[in-house]
Symmetry: C2
Subunit: 105 residues, 2 copies
């Protein structure tokens, strides 16, 4: 069963990746799975949540901006970003945020 | 066709609402629609994106923390939060964030 990411007491960082896919999804599924496995071992990674319907939203959580930058520049992830930009996504936005407050049940 | 929210140059604020529904969804659909229509007329509202699969993620964007607080305390939204907590959601998290950087295609 899916669970929402458990994150530490703020402050920490979130990367909100919002996307709309295009028609050319060659390699998408296998690269996405590889990247999802890879992110979990990155320094500073705190968790991620993902939901995909007409648009896709993935939010990943990070200890600090340095960890986010290192993940952006990680080799396989960089290649995936190039493919994403040139092929898979018709439209996307990346928003880098400082989480200041968290509550819930 | 769905479109990703267009937001101004950072800084601005994001509220990430991540949720897993329970079994009791009485009134959920009509209240959710009402709240989605209502949020668009709130002072400081900049847009929102939503995707729902096994988990649901809605991210709303705001001018400042005061606008977020006023929306949290808006009458119909407050009632919806009570119903959400007591009935609709098995689990949810609200994260209030300052968006520091944005890029995309």
């Amino acid at each position: 069963m899916e669970k929402i990411s458990s994150t530490p007491k703020p402050p920490y960082y979130a990367v909100i990746f919002t996307s709309i896919k295009g028609q050319n999804l060659v390699n998408y599924a296998e690269v996405a799975l590889h990247i999802e496995n890879l992110v979990k071992s990155q320094p500073g990674y705190l968790g991620h949540d993902s939901a995909s319907a007409e648009i896709g939203i993935t939010v990943s959580y990070w200890k600090d901006l340095e960890s986010i930058k290192a993940w952006k520049n990680q080799k396989d992830h960089s290649l995936a970003q190039v493919q994403g930009k040139s092929s898979w996504y018709r439209h996307y936005k990346v928003r880098i945020c400082k989480v200041e407050k968290e509550y819930g049940i």
